[in-house]
Point group: C2
Chain length 195, copies 2
Amino acid sequence: MKPLLNKQTEKNAAALSAIAHMPTKSLSILMDKEFARDMTDADFMRVAAFLAQKSYDEGGCPIGAVIVDNGTRQILGKGHNTLVQENHPYNHGETAAIRDAGRIDFSNTSLFTSLSPCDVCTTLIYMRGFGRVVVGDATNAPVNSAPLQERGIQVDILEDSRAVELYARFRAEKPNQDLEDWQGLSAVNNKAASE
Amino acid sequence: MKPLLNKQTEKNAAALSAIAHMPTKSLSILMDKEFARDMTDADFMRVAAFLAQKSYDEGGCPIGAVIVDNGTRQILGKGHNTLVQENHPYNHGETAAIRDAGRIDFSNTSLFTSLSPCDVCTTLIYMRGFGRVVVGDATNAPVNSAPLQERGIQVDILEDSRAVELYARFRAEKPNQDLEDWQGLSAVNNKAASE
């Protein structure tokens, strides 16, 4: 049985969206190795953007991330922010994808994140020894590359228009949820007290 | 019905160990408000040490943490490292306790951790706006107070002999698990390759 996604099939939105929603351990049922091998960086970033869309559709913060093996191009972990969905005060796209990947050696992998990483995620990325980080939105949040590049981690910016537009929309719609996600509920309360 | 732990009962090892193991949401069944109000900082640190013991007994890394409301002295969150237990590449004592507490304002709370926080946890502590951190073991790992104190967070060292001895024993028994917990599996593989 040939999987739905194989070397004959197109890497279109329907395919990349299905990849975003499929549990990581079941991805080999959906797509074969050749399909994975042909995926471009922009394709993986679009999967991260579809994970952000999934979170947005659930009422959450629209940030997704995908971890890819640099050799085989297999997806080893993926996830999205769950501040709202899991009442989780710090689970960002990157932390979700790293949790999903489990206890692996990240040195030969790339982390694709739909939004520039916060300080916690930046620290986690170098403490877990990633080789490369690709950022899909450097417009809505600045990229703090220095702590990564100082440690030999490659940082690439590859903007995904879908990710950038979705995050800007979310921030305009739910400014307090956005603030809480970056700085915690105390920052939201301080802002309310000063208004 | 008076809870097992009330103002007449002793704050002994059996009591503090039961508190460590009881799910946070069920703590009011185990202990009343007066018992909580009388708990000292050393008592809370001992609870963190019993959480570390629980993790050690499960084959995991012995680090626990407890988050306490500075006013009521109620426990709002607690947990321990789950590197082994959840195949979780970065869940330390502090991250576990913060996850357990959920989306709350941490500014009027204290975080008791049985071991000095790593860079990720240090960053998370200031990004979530904690008021105070109490460290139960500054012997097995140095305390990096500067990033916290610069942001107005109080850092106290209150060593718990049980926590210090247990962590030293774990590090001697499982040096690779200890290294993975701090620096990731890539560091373990690099060490093996250089030997």
